[in-house]
């Protein structure tokens, strides 16, 4: 604990200021309760997500380098992002900037040309879940819990990019079987790569029960294709929702606005088609933590969730 720092640069990403407002609001609540401080990254730009990198390599690096430069300007060595896509993009940029000095020099020159301070140092990027776990941890969550989520069966959905790939997220790979020395970039704070458990631990500390959800907890929701390749996304979401439902989940906890949107959108479409066992609602894990800390459903913006977790939570007396 205490590796990352209690005060960090907060990169919300575009969707947290729009459709995923609930995640932003609840994240701030949870951070405040846990005694952590988020320093909003002023005038940031889009990270390019999963889309821009397929169009332009250098352009995507530049987009992320600009955000890194903003963080440096605000005096931070650490950026925390609540979105899997954003943290992936920043970590990807970190990887290429660190491993290739030519790219680093070129990016710096281009930043200067674009009127942005060049990078004197490459800040590290963490997912917000990792930060909560390492700077506050389950113990602190337990202390702060006023209204335990007793009886709530949660399927913890991590999505694909939270621990992957280990080149960027710097997790330890179970598959590679390489020695410690061969992995100089491994990160102490990273979650288990194939069996992540940070969200389970935090929500269980708040009184919830985790249901069996492997291997769907890191199965892709088809997010980057959720608009352009509807058939694949629909199938993947169906598999995720049905596994959750059949293992007895009341709710799916998410930690990425893209996964969340994809789950909600396709849940609705699957229900319209009459597919069985897909009616599990989704909520951000921060919303659930906020409820446990004694905040009301209105405070954590539960009404923003299109999949409507309110009835389930009300039934259990949690909202």
């Amino acid at each position: 604990m205490g590796v990352i720092g209690k005060r960090v640069a907060y990169y919300p990403g575009c969707s947290l200021e729009g459709a995923a407002r609930a995640y932003d609001v609840s994240t701030r609540i949870v951070a405040r309760e846990l005694g952590l401080e988020l320093d909003y990254l002023e005038d940031y730009n889009c990270c390019g997500a999963m889309e821009s990198k397929n169009i332009t390599f250098m352009g995507t690096l530049l987009l992320n380098a600009r955000n890194m430069s903003l963080a440096r300007k605000q005096g931070h060595d650490v950026i925390v992002a609540p979105c899997n896509g954003c943290s992936f993009s920043l970590q990807r940029a970190e990887y290429f900037l660190q491993t290739d000095s030519k790219i680093f020099e070129r990016v710096n020159a281009l930043l200067k040309e674009g009127g942005v301070d060049p990078l004197d140092k490459i800040p590290e990027t963490y997912h917000i879940l990792e930060w909560f776990y390492h700077e506050a941890g389950p113990q602190k969550v337990k202390e702060k819990t006023k209204r335990p989520l007793r009886g709530l069966k949660v399927a913890n959905y991590y999505g694909c990019l939270y621990t992957r790939p280990h080149f960027y997220a710097r997790t330890y790979s179970h598959a590679g079987g390489q020695s410690e020395e061969a992995r100089p970039r491994r990160r102490e704070t990273a979650d288990d790569d194939e069996h992540p458990y940070y969200m389970n631990a935090l929500l269980e500390a708040a009184g919830a029960t985790s249901v069996e959800f492997e291997p769907m907890h890191t199965q892709c929701c088809g997010g980057p294709h959720s608009l352009s390749d509807e058939q694949v996304s629909e199938k993947f979401v169906m598999m995720i929702l049905q596994t959750a439902k059949r293992n007895g989940a009341d709710i799916i906890a998410t930690e990425c606005p893209l996964c969340h949107a994809s789950l909600e959108m396709y849940r609705h479409r699957l229900m319209m088609k009459g597919v069985p066992d897909v009616d599990v609602p989704a909520a951000y894990f921060t919303q659930l933590l906020g409820l446990a800390f004694g905040y009301s459903a209105n405070d954590v913006k539960l009404k923003d969730n299109l999949s409507d977790p309110l009835p389930v939570l009300k039934r259990l007396g949690l909202a």
């Binding site: 575009c14 730009n45 889009c46 390599f57 790939p165 280990h166 080149f167 294709h225 609705h268």
Partner: protein, 252 residues
């Protein structure tokens, strides 16, 4: 006998005989399945060179074809077994472009979940390499415009213009690109939600915040659609981005 990766062999090249005698020995039973040979002679080695020379594609040389990427891939396992990252890398390295073209209809279906990259024991950035293969094919005019590329372009243009994206505009703009007849306002030329044709599921989905009177959520999103959130000091940076993209041939 089972054929490993059967989807890689054209069905007409798989011959199963009732009885088979070779050199006077009856090999009927398990051994009566034959894959007819084929001759390939149109290698394009420049194709591989172009991939190796790009910063995100150079790890293609490390691949030793163990197929862990394919075994991990959800698109291969749950959608279409013709989507086979290991095979795409193999074909690209040999420069077998017509074989790649035959698979163009599934090649774009990668969902970027990075399981392949993550599990690769050799350190190939598989997902990135596959995207470079696609990019190179598109640049050479070997592959038609495919849906995910159209979306990626649409997305990137929005980022380039404003520095940020906006969910509503992305959604309705994309619906328009898919051929729905969307009504646009005369001044800003932006699609007005729900005035024209809209998919039924979307109408119903948006009824939810309206029904539960979640006014603040609707107002926020409407505001963002009208006044696209933008990064303030963007103009100078935009020029640099545009220049870089032009160098890469990403802007047409």
């Amino acid at each position: 006998m089972a054929i490993h990766e059967r989807s890689l062999v054209e069905p007409e090249r798989i011959v199963r005989k009732e009885r088979l005698v070779i050199d006077g020995v009856d090999v009927s039973g398990d051994w009566n399945l034959i894959i007819l040979p084929r001759v390939i002679n149109d290698y394009d080695l420049d194709f591989a060179k172009e991939i190796i020379n790009s910063p995100d594609g150079k790890t293609i040389t490390l691949c030793y074809q163990c197929s862990y990427c394919t075994a991990s891939c959800p698109v291969h396992n749950y959608w279409d077994e013709r989507y086979n990252p290991r095979h795409f890398i193999y074909l690209a390295r040999l420069g077998l472009i017509d074989e790649l073209q035959k698979r163009a209809d599934v090649m774009w279906r990668c969902v970027s979940c990075h399981k392949c990259t993550h599990r690769c024991p050799k350190g190939v950035l598989v997902e990135e390499v596959l995207k470079v293969i696609l990019r190179t094919m598109a640049k050479k005019g070997l592959i038609d415009e495919y849906p995910s590329k159209k979306f990626d372009k649409f997305f990137t243009e929005s980022v380039l213009e404003y520095g940020r994206i906006e969910d509503g505009e992305l959604l309705f703009g994309w619906i328009e690109k898919q051929g729905y007849n969307v009504v646009k306002d005369p001044i800003l030329k932006k699609p007005i939600p729900f005035l024209g044709e809209t998919p039924e599921w979307l109408k119903q989905l948006v009824m939810k915040p309206i029904k539960s009177m979640n006014i603040s959520f609707l107002v926020l999103n409407a505001k963002h659609m009208l006044f696209h959130p933008r990064t303030k000091s963007w103009n100078k940076f935009k020029q640099v981005l545009r220049k870089v993209m032009q160098e890469e041939g990403a802007l047409t």
